[in-house]
């Protein structure tokens, strides 16, 4: 029996590594394609030269200042959202949980929008404030959801959490629509593209603002993988196994909120990544969170990167926000999941 287990484990481990490495290679491939995508054509050779510092100053400007920060941001945002989704799905034991559906994105969005509409663009404020604001908004939304779905005897029931989230998200979205009415056309345009989920802060500063959140919180999620595994077994079992459920759940929720909020602050309302990322990952490597979390991160990063690259390429020189591309892929997938859950 023991020998048998070990051999399956070894097989699983091999499979997991293959999946992770292929995902990684895929990301590299799309990064290269994405570096080639844009209004100004750079041949692969020129790209290569420029990467190693032998390009013209114009080529260097395009590659290092316009394309690369955006590529890096897309990946980071995708990772953040997907891991956030993985945590939420684990914590709520609900396969349909997603920071977008739960209203966390909307809460972050509302804060960012309030900030944009009350602080004119002429004031130069540090960009690092955005993720913090988004985090505050996301936490506020998440707390509302948590409080509203909490019942003393039962704690948080996954279904109630999800339903409350949907309701709060709807409320916040309508508040945002009302807010947009008082914006100037230019600010409105900014907010509209933001809501549609465009990687708008294509700037190294945004990368720097986002990076610490993503790294620290993903590592945190990875460390807590075992807790997620236990929570997944259901509250009763989890308590039986000695997990202090509510405390762990709250911490993990906070991490998920932080990840989603920070990502959303630079990417705008990209939905579905938090849903699809972990789902695809689960199909590839199974439900153990130790492997699920890194795989979700890779899938999410790949997904947003692909969406942003397609969005930049399809209607050149105009751009389609990555969020819309993800939604085009994500919405049918979401429906597919719904029908599967019925069975």
């Amino acid at each position: 029996m023991k020998r048998y287990m070990t051999s399956t484990q070894r097989k699983t481990q091999l499979r997991n590594w293959t999946v992770m490495i292929s995902l990684f290679l895929f990301i590299i491939l799309v990064v290269v394609i994405s570096m080639n995508t844009g209004f100004i054509k750079l041949s692969p050779l020129e790209l290569f030269y420029t990467l190693f510092g032998f390009g013209t100053s114009e080529q260097a400007l395009i590659l290092f200042e316009f394309r690369l920060p955006r590529i890096v941001l897309s990946i980071l945002v995708g990772m953040g959202l997907a891991v956030s989704g993985a945590i939420l799905q684990g914590v709520t034991r609900n396969a349909l949980a997603d920071p977008g559906i739960l209203g966390i994105n909307a809460g972050a969005g509302l804060m960012v929008m309030l900030y944009i509409s009350y602080f004119p663009s002429t004031t130069n404020t540090p960009i690092f404030i955005l993720p913090v604001l988004a985090f505050i908004g996301a936490t506020a939304a998440a707390s509302c959801i948590y409080i509203l779905s909490y019942k003393r005897d039962e704690g948080i029931s996954p279904v109630r959490l999800l339903l409350t989230g949907v309701a709060i998200a709807a409320g916040i979205s309508s508040a945002m629509i009302i807010l947009t009415l008082r914006l100037s056309p230019e600010s409105y345009q900014f907010v509209a593209t933001w809501l549609a989920g465009s990687i708008w802060g294509s700037n190294w500063k945004f990368v720097l603002a986002l990076l610490p959140w993503i790294i620290i919180l993903i590592i945190f999620a990875y460390v807590k993988a075992n807790v997620l595994n236990i929570l997944n077994l259901g509250d009763v079992t989890a308590v039986g196994l000695g997990a202090s459920i509510e405390k762990e759940r709250r911490l993990l929720l906070l991490a998920a909120v932080g990840l989603a909020g920070a990502s959303v602050s630079v990417s705008g309302g990209i939905g579905f990544v938090g849903l699809i990322g972990p789902h695809l990952a689960r199909q590839l490597v199974g439900a153990r969170h130790q492997i699920l979390i890194p795989t979700s991160a890779l899938v999410g990063g790949l997904l947003v990167l692909v969406a942003d690259t397609i969005g930049r390429w399809i209607l050149q020189p105009s751009e389609i926000p990555a969020g819309i591309i993800v939604a085009i892929i994500g919405a049918p997938y979401f429906l597919y999941l719904l029908t599967r859950l019925e069975d």
Binding site: G38, F39, T122, P185, E186, N203, P317
Partner: protein, 318 residues
């Protein structure tokens, strides 16, 4: 929900495009100091950036400010357009017909491809989200943001300053004012106190111009034409350059002459068949002058305003 939001967002983006065709008023502070040298000069723009303007910028991109540039004798290397060039500032095409278009949101790479030596942004919103830094890596970038963005005279003087062409800018204003004064006298002599109004028909909705902006300023201030009560009333509360007006309200419009900018010409303009419309005094009297959407009436700037005066003169002075 998300899909709904996407739908709403695209719907509102479409609305924006309609709204975006107008000039807008923004309320940002303007800080301005200047410092002149003979060759290149350093200016502080509306966002407080120190901008080094090259000696003789000859590859300028100043999207949606083309009117002002042309008035100062500068031809930009690219011109404002939306929908991949489907919509451009038609009234300037005599001068801009050989100038390629650039999307209104000025994507970095497209801007770079023109190798500009000076960028002028028509408002601070254009560089929102730290974009300024990236634009300024392409070329010196000057952000124009006036307290009152519809004050075309102020805008012209500012742009004159950027190009070190203050004298030319003053001259353009003097020429314009002389023309306006002459026309005003002619109109007064021939029409007395008859009132006029400008309305815009787009997507089966009428809009009426406010007296503070665009063609409204030309009609009521520069040409001193009589303002109907409805315009007066709407202008006091108007937040936009053109305010929506219902057909019923339009029926109360006691203007003797109407200038109609018809953007619905291509698709039938059903509203013009409406009995209420046909009952409006000016329409009954046949004192209605129709202009197409490609005329200058929806814009403002030295060239647009001059063209509006010309249009008014040809319409009203027989």
């Amino acid at each position: 929900m998300l899909i709904l939001r996407k739908v709403l967002v695209s719907f509102f983006s479409f609305l924006f495009i309609l709204v975006g065709c107008q000039d807008n008023v923004s309320e940002d502070d303007v800080k301005e100091t200047n410092d002149h040298t003979v060759d290149e000069h350093v200016l502080t723009d509306a966002m407080g950036n120190e901008v080094t303007i090259p000696a003789n910028p000859d590859r300028v991109i100043a999207s949606y400010l083309e009117d002002y540039l042309l008035a100062l004798g500068i031809t930009p290397v690219a011109q404002w357009a939306i929908h991949d060039g489907a919509s451009i500032q038609d009234y300037l095409q005599e001068d801009l017909k050989d100038v390629p278009t650039i999307p209104y949101d000025l994507p970095f790479e497209v801007v770079t491809s023109f190798s500009p030596d000076l960028l002028i942004m028509s408002s601070a919103d254009m560089v929102e989200g730290e974009k300024y830094e990236q634009y300024s890596k392409i070329a010196p970038t000057y952000v124009l943001d006036l307290e009152n963005n519809s004050d075309w005279r102020e805008k012209l003087l500012k742009i004159g300053e950027v190009f070190d062409k203050q004298d030319e800018a003053e001259k353009v204003l003097v020429t314009y004012d002389e023309k306006a004064k002459e026309s005003k006298q002619l109109l007064k002599d021939s029409m007395g106190n008859q009132s006029v109004a400008a309305i815009w028909l787009v997507n089966n909705t009428f809009f009426i111009v406010s007296d503070k902006v665009s063609s409204g300023v030309v009609l009521y201030d520069d040409l001193g034409l009589e303002k109907p009560n409805v315009v007066e009333e709407i202008s006091t509360t108007a937040t936009d350059n053109w305010s929506e007006i219902s057909l019923e309200k339009l029926a109360e419009l006691d203007a003797d002459h109407l200038f109609l900018v018809n953007s619905d010409k291509g698709n039938g303009a059903k509203m013009l068949e409406d009995p209420i419309w046909k009952d409006i005094p000016a329409v009954k009297k046949g004192q209605i002058y129709e202009y197409e959407a490609d005329s200058a009436w929806l814009y403002s700037g030295p060239i647009a305003n001059t063209q509006i005066i010309d249009d008014v003169m040809t319409s009203l002075i027989k």
